[in-house]
Symmetry: C2
Subunit: 581 residues, 2 copies
C-alpha cells in the first residue's frame, strides 16, 4: 500500500479533493446492511472513497439503476473455457464477474509447476482479478499417466505469490482419511502460510466431512442434493453452489439457503464451456437462477459478492464501501439482473453489456514445453488392434449429459483374426487413450456405445484429469489420421472423415487452451459442430464434452485410461473380455 | 501446526482412534447453519475432531443442555479490571468468555512498548486466549503529559507476534482526516502485515466514517444511538455493541440488528470493572440483554462467537465444527443463558459455574520500571495553592454515571491571600492532577463539584488516558497525605481522612494493575467502598470511577490535566478564573 495513494483516498473521502469519478442517481445494493441505499459513490485510484454526496472530475449517471458489487466465481477451471485468462476475462467481464478463484488443475496435470506459473503469468495485470488455488491432486489418480507429479515441496514456493490463496480442491479423500504424509504436508503448508483449503467432497458422508474439516478443508462444491448441502453447512463447510456446463446443482441445493446460513454460501461454475458462458452467463446466471428460485435478490447478491470475498479472505472486495475496490456493476432491475455497465477498479469496462475497454494479453514467455506438450510415437495400425478371446465384451455405455457411464456387457463382432470390429449398426465404436506427455507408449483400448458416429473419428487432448489423447472412431484409418492431426496441431479437437480433417480447433497451450481470441474459438467450435453433424453424431449431447470425461477413472462405472479399461466398482483395471458369466 | 497432531486429529475424526473426550446428549448451537443440532462432540488435543457418533477415552454427559461456542470480547481494556490477565481470565472463564481482543492502551500510556510487552508476556500460555491490538494513540492528546509516546516505528515490531491482530481503536480522528504522516504509517504497517484496524468513531458523522473506512479502519465500538449504528453498518464497519461499566449502549443499538446485517455485529465490553463483571458478567451479559431485547438466541450467540472470530480473522474459533478449537460452554437454556460448564481447548475449566482448574500466573520478568512507575517530587503545601484573581471560577460539574462533565461557573470562597478555599457546604472541592511519569513537576489545579466528600481526600493513578495522579480533597493536608500514600504504594487508590489512610488498593503494575488475586482485589475494593462512606461521598456513583475520567480532555465539557483546566468546546486550556462575563 502506497502512502500517497492512501493520503489521496483520504483527501477525497474528506472532500478536500474531487474524486476521479462520482456515480450519481444509483440504488446501491448494500450487502453489509442488507438494504438498498440511494447515495453517490466516489471513486479514486480504483477504490471507493466515499458514499454520500461527492464531487468529481467526472460523473456517471446511473439513472436509477441498481449498483451492485461485481461478482466472484469462487471455484473455476479456466482451462475448461479453452481460452487464455485474458480472453476468459473478456467474456466474464461482460457478465459482471470481475474476480475468479481459479484452480489450474488441468494444465498442472499436463505441465506441472510450469503450468501453474503459466496461468499466474498469463493472468497478471489484467482488468480482472484472478486468484489461484494450488492443484492438490496431480496426478489425480494412479490409474493413468499424467504429465506431471506435484508433491508438497513443488507447491510450497507458490505460496509466496500474493495471488495464490491456498490449496485447491482436495479430491484424494483416501489420502486425507489415511493421513498420508504428502497430503498432510500439503495441508500444513497451506495452513502455516495462512492460506485456505478447498474441498472436493463428492459423495462424502458426514463422517468423512468430519475428517475433511478436521484437516482444515473448509469448502465443498461437489454436493448435488439438499441433504448433502445441509450436512456440509452443519459441519462448518462453506457451501459452493455450482452451476456449470455439466454439473448443474443450483436447483437441488438452493432450498437449503436461508437468512441464517446464507453467509456461508457462495456461487461457483467449476467447469463452464465458452459457448455456455456466452449463451447464458457465468455467476450472473447463478444469481438469476437463485432469485428465480425464491432467494431474495440482496441475499443472492451477497452470495455472489461479500460471501465469496469472506470465504477467501479478500477484505477489500465484495461490497460497496469506502476502502473497497471499485468493482461495480449496474443492473437494470433485481429480477432478471441484466448487467448493463461494469466497472473494474473504477474503470468502465462494459457499457450496454458490451466490452468497451481493451483487455491486453499479458506478455508471457511461453516456453517450448508449454506450446509443445503432445508427445507420442506415430500410431501404427497394429497399435489399434483390439484382440478379444470371445465375442462378448465390457463396453462403456454413455449416459447423455452425465459424467457417469454404464458398464455394459454385449456381444461384439470379431474378425477372423479375433480382432474387434466396430459396428455402426450396434453403435459399438473403438475408443483409444494414448499417453501423450512423455512418449510412454501407453495405449488403452476399449469399446464405447452411445456416441452414434456413422463414419469417421473424433479426437481430443482434453481428457480429464491427465489429458491424454482420446480418440473414438468407426475405423482405424480415420483414428490414425485424427491422431496425426492432433500431433500436428500440438493439441486440440479434430473431426476426421474418410481420411480428411473436416474441422479442428487448435489448443496449442498444453493441448488445452487456444492462443486465439474467444471469438475465433467460438467460430471454430461452430465449424466443429457442423462437422460432427456430418459424421452423424448423436445431437442430444456434445460428443467432445462426453469424450473428455471417458478417461476419468474415479467416476463410475466404466472408463478407459492409457493403462486400460477401469471399473470404478472394482477400483481396478479390468480386461475387455474379462466377464463374469 | 504439528504433523503428528494433525494426523491424530484425522485419526479421531475417522474413528480409528478414540477421542480424548466425547460430549454426549447435548443440543449443539450450530452457528454456521443457524440451528440446534443433537449430536456428540469428539475432542482431541484441544480441538474438535468430529460431530456425530463418537467413542472416547472419557465422556461428558451434557444431560440435554445447550452447548455453544464460548464467547469472545471483541474489544476490552484489561487494565480497567485492575487485575492481571491471568486473574482477568479466571473471572471471564466462569462467565463463558474464553477469548478477548485486548487493547493495552492504558498501560502503554504509562510504559510505552514495555507496557505492551508486559501484557503479551503476562497473558501467555493461559487457558484463555488473549489477542492484542496495538495502541494507536499514545499519548492520547497533546493536552497532557503521558508516560510514553508510541510512533509507528515503535509499534511495527509487535506485528511479528502472532497474538497481535492489528492496530487498536484509532481515536485521533483529526490525524486520520488530515492524513498525518505518522498516522498513515501506523495504518500502512497494519495493512501490509495483513492485520486489522479498529476504529473509535465517537460522534463521527457519516462523512467522517467515509474517511475512516477509506483508511481501512473497519470497526467502531463508540456509537451510542441506533442511527449512528445504522450509519456504521451502511458504511461497511463492523458494529461493536458495547455494554461496560460506564458506557451501556446495547439497549440503544440492538434494534438495528436484523437477520441480514447481524453477521456484521459483535459484542464488546470496552471498560468493565471487576466488581461489575463479578456481579453481572462479561459478554454473557451482552448476550442475555440482546436476547431479552428480542434478538433470537442463535443470532445473539453468533454475534458473541462466529461474528467476533470473523471480524478478527480467527478462523479456528467461534463455532462448534471439526478443526475448530474446543472452546465450549454449556447453557441451561437459551433465555437466561446461565453458563454451567466451560471447556477451554477441551479442558473442563468451569463446572456448576465455578472455576475448577488452576489458572497459573505466567512467569514474567517484571522490570523495575513496570513495578515503579510513579515518579513525582513530594508535594509541598504551596504546590496546591490555587490563587484566583476573582471570586468566580470555572468549575468541573460532575454528572453522575457519565463521562461528560458540566462546565459550571460559580462564586467561590477565597482566603485573604486570594487562595481558593474548598467549601463543603457548596461541595466545591479542590482537584489536582500531578504528572507522575517523569518527575516533570507538572501540576494542574482545579475545582470540582459533585463528589460530595464531607472530609478527607481521595487519590488514584488511574486517570484516563495518561494516568497521571489525580487527587480530590476537602483540604490540602489530606491531599498531600494521599499523594504520599500513592507514591509509597507505587500506584493505586487511596482514601484519606484527617491525615490517615483509611483504605487503599495497591496497583503497583504501572499504577493500574494489582499483583494480587481478583478475590483479594475485590475485598480491598469493598474496604474502599466503606471508607468512602466514611468521607460522606455521594453514594449514587463510584467516586473513583468518576475521578478516573476527570482528566480525560477530549470528552466534554470541562476537564483537568496536569497542564491545567481544559475546555473541550474551546479545545484549549483555560484559566480557572478566565470567565467570559
Amino acid at each position: 500500500m502506497d502512502k500517497s495513494l492512501l493520503a489521496r483516498r483520504i483527501a477525497v473521502a474528506a472532500k478536500r479533493e474531487p474524486a476521479d469519478v462520482v456515480i450519481k442517481n444509483g440504488k446501491i445494493v448494500d450487502v453489509m446492511n442488507g438494504e438498498i441505499l440511494e447515495a453517490d459513490i466516489a471513486i479514486v485510484d480504483g477504490y471507493i472513497a466515499g458514499i454520500g454526496h461527492y464531487e468529481g472530475l467526472e460523473y456517471v449517471d446511473a439513472k436509477g439503476q441498481y449498483i451492485s458489487p461485481s461478482f466472484t466465481d469462487g471455484h473455476v477451471h479456466i482451462e475448461s473455457s479453452m481460452v487464455t485468462p485474458a480472453e476468459f476475462a473478456k467474456v466474464l467481464l461482460s457478465r459482471g464477474v470481475t474476480t475468479a478463484i481459479a484452480d489450474p488443475h488441468e494444465i498442472a496435470n499436463v505441465l506441472g509447476s510450469e503450468g501453474i506459473q503459466y496461468m499466474l503469468d498469463s493472468s497478471e495485470n489484467l482488468p480482472f482479478d484472478f486468484y489461484f488455488m494450488l492443484p492438490s491432486s496431480v496426478p489425480a489418480t494412479e490409474f493413468e499417466h499424467s504429465g506431471a507429479r506435484l508433491c508438497a515441496s513443488d507447491l510450497q514456493p507458490f505460496y509466496r505469490q500474493p495471488r495464490v490463496l491456498g490449496l485447491a480442491e482436495v479430491m484424494n479423500s483416501h489420502a486425507v482419511y489415511t493421513a498420508e504424509q504428502d497430503m498432510l504436508e500439503k495441508i500444513i503448508d497451506a495452513t502455516v502460510n495462512g492460506k485456505k483449503i478447498d474441498g472436493h467432497a463428492a459423495g462424502l458422508s458426514p463422517d468423512y466431512l468430519n475428517v475433511y474439516m478436521s484437516a482444515g478443508i473448509r469448502t465443498d462444491h461437489e454436493c448435488i442434493s439438499a441433504e448433502e448441502a445441509k450436512e456440509r453447512l452443519r459441519r462448518g463447510m462453506y457451501l459452493m453452489i455450482r452451476e456449470g456446463t455439466v454439473a448443474k446443482d443450483l436447483h437441488q441445493l438452493i432450498s437449503v439457503v436461508n437468512d441464517r446460513n446464507a453467509r456461508r454460501c457462495l456461487f461457483v461454475t467449476d467447469d463452464k464451456h465458452l459457448d455456455d458462458i456466452l449463451l447464458e452467463g457465468s455467476i450472473d446466471h447463478n444469481v438469476r437462477l437463485a432469485v428465480a428460485a425464491g432467494v431474495s435478490p440482496i441475499t443472492a447478491i451477497q452470495m455472489a459478492t461479500l460471501n465469496a470475498a469472506e470465504c477467501f479472505g479478500l477484505h477489500h472486495k465484495g461490497a460497496i464501501a469506502p476502502g473497497y475496490q471499485a468493482d461495480l456493476i449496474f443492473l437494470e432491475n433485481l429480477t432478471d439482473l441484466k448487467v448493463t455497465k461494469v466497472f473494474k477498479s473504477g474503470q468502465l469496462m462494459v457499457d450496454n453489456g458490451v466490452l468497451i475497454h481493451p483487455v491486453d494479453q499479458p506478455f508471457v514467455n511461453e516456453s517450448k514445453r508449454i506450446l509443445h506438450s503432445v508427445h507420442f510415437t506415430d500410431l501404427k495400425t497394429t497399435d489399434l488392434h483390439l484382440k478379444l478371446n470371445r465375442n462378448k465384451a465390457n463396453i462403456i455405455g454413455i449416459i447423455p449429459n452425465n459424467l457417469v457411464t454404464k458398464h455394459l456387457v454385449e456381444e461384439v463382432e470379431l474378425m477372423e483374426t479375433g480382432l474387434f470390429s466396430t459396428s455402426i449398426a450396434k453403435d459399438q465404436l473403438k475408443l483409444a487413450v494414448i499417453e501423450r506427455h512423455n512418449q510412454g507408449k501407453h495405449i488403452g483400448l476399449g469399446i464405447v456405445k452411445g456416441l452414434g458416429l456413422k463414419s469417421g473419428a473424433i479426437a481430443t487432448t482434453i481428457a480429464h484429469d491427465s489429458h491424454n489423447l482420446i480418440i473414438a472412431g468407426t475405423n482405424d484409418q480415420d483414428m490414425i489420421v485424427a491422431a496425426n492431426a492432433i500431433k500436428e496441431l500440438q493439441g486440440g479437437l479434430v473431426v476426421v472423415k474418410e481420411g480428411k480433417v473436416l474441422a479442428s480447433l487448435q489448443l496449442s497451450i498444453a493441448g488445452l487452451i487456444s492462443t486465439k481470441t474467444y471469438k475465433e474459438v467460438q467460430l471454430e467450435l461452430e465449424e466443429i459442430h457442423l462437422a460432427l453433424k456430418e459424421l452423424g453424431a448423436n445431437q442430444h449431447f456434445n460428443p467432445f464434452l462426453t469424450l473428455s470425461f471417458l478417461a476419468l477413472p474415479v467416476i463410475p462405472e466404466l472408463k478407459l485410461t492409457d493403462m486400460g479399461l477401469f471399473s470404478s466398482s472394482k477400483f481396478t483395471h479390468i480386461g475387455i473380455d474379462e466377464i463374469e458369466d
